[in-house]
Symmetry: C2
Subunit: 245 residues, 2 copies
DNA sequence: CTCTGTGAATATATTCACAGCC
DNA sequence: GGCTGTGAATATATTCACAGAG
């Protein structure tokens, strides 16, 4: 049984028009591949070609794109420029997003200088750090300001997304303060699980998590090779060896 | 009839293959939460407590842990130290993984200095960069060497995992050379889709992808709020009646 | 009683396979 | 003929809900 509440909750979680999370997570990849094709002067791609460029299979790509609408031409393919626009619009990249980066260590530096933001509508409008020695430095054309000014900066600069690149222990407090200003989107590089109220989205990027997942698969490969070598091969078994992203 | 061979083959396959990808991806999170609890001197946790600390719900946590074995005690919970060990073992973190970082820009610096690696069995044994000005610098206690030496370094240092933190255009070539040395696990921070032969695992961390996903949800929230604000007067008939009671 | 471990139910995601349009 | 868009089939993942161990 599905209650009206269930349906509302699902619609809210997914999207007004129902784009699955897994699809949303892949749209940026398609967008990158398309941008590259556009730069190379390619006007049209088939789902097969684009899928290869994006590292997925073509059925998945077509299904994903079908959630946005019917933007391809049967027998021909997709017009690159047009698809770039449609995906950008769907992702909300046709507007400017003003971002504050908190924590200007090596990672903060890398993020501040990262070219991939500006080209997709993200403008880093402020850098904050708690360390008085770092405050006042100029990084990526911005003067680093104190985290004391967080609330002022968010208000004055119209920030809508906060990026945390601080050490773990500092992150929760700064996150609380971001949320206090009304920000509802946080990208967290600090190695902690942030707790936030309902309605606030946190995405976490964890450098060591990814290595650990690789280690798991590497170990599994080693174990399988050992079994192989010992002659205990299960001939009926063939597992496709591809890491799910 | 079940022969001993059958049972061995099955047991091997299950223990090697049986853990779902989604579970594997969460194990590092549980491990981090458990490590924190251990440092705070907590000896035992319930699935509810651990789930909260890890930011998931308790049913999922229990299901995930059940794939590793029966390591809890009904009516009590899980012994923290023991679970740390079991998860570490399952992820392959009880052995040392020797890692090379290629590309020593801001991100490479951040990775080289990141404390979260060493504590989980990852040893950064070499740093490589293509820029002659960077080669020779000392970062995180290691002398940066030239990417020309890649093959030598991998062989001499017994590297099993490669981390690419280079600009996009350089990544595929360096990846090919890593694969050429026999490496089958690559963590890619460069903003390109790498193509690798069957049997090689690539995981990709993309700084701007995550921001784009946030932007999508932020846009959606804004759209919903707008509808809400505009639609308050034209409220849904039935709900209004029920609320009146 | 409490809290784990797990079948059964549900929800999501992927893949297949082909009808329908260019 | 070639390629998209999509139902139907399958595979994965999540959540429910409760039996049963301690």
């Amino acid at each position: 049984m599905t209650t009206p509440q269930d349906r509302l909750a699902r619609d809210t979680r997914e999207s007004v028009r129902g784009i699955p999370d897994a699809t949303v997570a892949r749209l940026p990849v398609y967008l990158r591949a398309l941008t590259e094709l556009a730069e190379r002067g390619v006007a049209t791609v088939s789902s097969e070609e684009l899928a290869t460029a994006a590292g997925v299979n073509s059925a998945k790509l077509r299904k994903d794109l079908s959630h946005l609408g019917s933007y391809g031409t049967r027998g021909v393919g997709y017009e690159v420029e047009y698809l770039v626009y449609q995906i950008s619009r769907e992702l909300g990249l046709t507007q400017e997003w003003r971002v504050v980066i908190i924590g200007v260590g090596n990672l903060g530096h890398a993020l501040a200088n990262y070219g991939g933001f500006a080209s997709r509508g993200f403008t880093v409008v402020a850098l904050l750090d708690a360390d008085p020695d770092v405050v006042g430095e100029h990084v990526a054309g911005l003067r680093v300001r104190s985290t004391d000014e967080l609330e002022d900066v968010v208000a004055a600069e119209g920030v809508s997304i906060g990026v945390l690149a601080t050490p773990g222990p500092a992150a929760q407090d700064l996150c609380d303060r971001l949320v206090g200003t009304g920000i509802t989107s946080v990208l967290n590089f600090a190695p902690v699980v942030l707790s936030v109220p309902e309605g606030v989205d946190v995405r976490k990027v964890d450098l060591s998590t990814e290595l650990q997942i690789l280690a798991f698969h590497e170990q599994r490969k080693a174990a399988r090779d050992a079994v192989h070598a010992a002659g205990l091969t299960a001939a009926d078994e063939h597992d496709a060896e591809e890491v799910a992203q």
